[in-house]
Assembly symmetry: C2
Homo-oligomer: 185 residues x 2
């Protein structure tokens, strides 16, 4: 049976979402699609390219309309960070997938670009807007990775921990935003 690129991507995203990042191998994906692994390379040159497409799909499925006014820069930052966080938490190992692809420089660049735009609109120069965007992302990735790792491990019965400390995402985000505010001209 022939599959187009979109079919392969849908199945790859399903594999990750149901079984986690470790389940995403060319071999297993081929078996799911009823094709040889080599057929997948027709659509995705390598594992990294496939992973990048899965990360973009995670972000696409989590995308939301913007509601904040253009001059409400802190609201806009929160909107982007919250959307990113929720998109990652909606897919098993989503934080790992998106943070990895972003680190590869192969995709998932939209949140970084949007945060940079907001920070430039707020008045930061290009250099600080870049570092500020990256700092926000590092915080969001770090928080989401902890939250997702903890929730998944507890759900699997692999570890026992109190999950009560996790709902501090917004407080921590405001700490970072206040540090950026202190750098406005």
């Amino acid at each position: 049976m022939r599959h187009n690129r979109g079919d392969v991507l849908v199945r790859a995203h399903q594999l990750v979402s149901r079984y986690g990042l470790g389940a995403l191998t060319m071999r297993r994906l081929g078996a799911e699609l009823g094709v040889q692994p080599s057929a997948i390379y027709h659509h995705f040159a390598n594992k990294q390219t496939l992973l990048a497409a899965v990360a973009e799909e995670i972000l696409r499925q989590g995308s939301r309309a913007r509601t904040c006014e253009r001059d409400d820069w802190t609201g806009r930052l929160r909107e982007v960070c919250s959307e990113l966080r929720d998109a990652m938490l909606a897919c098993t190992d989503g934080a790992d997938v998106v943070a990895t692809v972003w680190a590869f420089g192969m995709g998932a660049q939209a949140p970084a670009a949007e945060l940079e735009d907001v920070l430039r609109d707020a008045g930061l120069d290009d250099g600080l807007a870049l570092v500020g965007s990256r700092t926000l992302l590092h915080y969001v990735f770090g928080h989401a990775f902890e939250e997702q790792t903890a929730i998944q491990a507890v759900a699997a019965g692999a570890v026992e921990r109190d999950l009560a400390s996790l709902p501090d995402f917004w407080t921590g985000l405001d700490v970072v935003i206040d540090g950026l505010r202190a750098r406005l001209p």
Copy 2:
């Protein structure tokens, strides 16, 4: 041949350091030690317990003497965060290992506890000191995960990316610290 817990841990740390987190399986560790995997369970009840011990070993090997005065709270925060970052970067997949174990709530708690102490000494109340410590850690984990993922992938020839943006660790850390400073009474 009989091995004590320390022997097993040394070999487990070596496996991760040389080949990455994916290489750490009870099966492979048993083969390295020349014992059945079941012999390892005599020292470590499960994979998570073993991973927690490896994370502690990563922190132990990276530990440094403190040099900042007690009232230099920003210097003390930088010292803890820098030590943690360097310790993780010194071991293949070290950021992943330490962040995962911390998320499990099974170890690698010392940096969090020390950051909390420093923030309390600086004047934050207990609740804010806890969130502040966690926010610093989320930032450090997020930055180190990106840096290590990028460097390892580029070194392996798996991806091509410009590594020039990575040396912004200190600027981002100071953004977070300034956000905490704004919360001092």
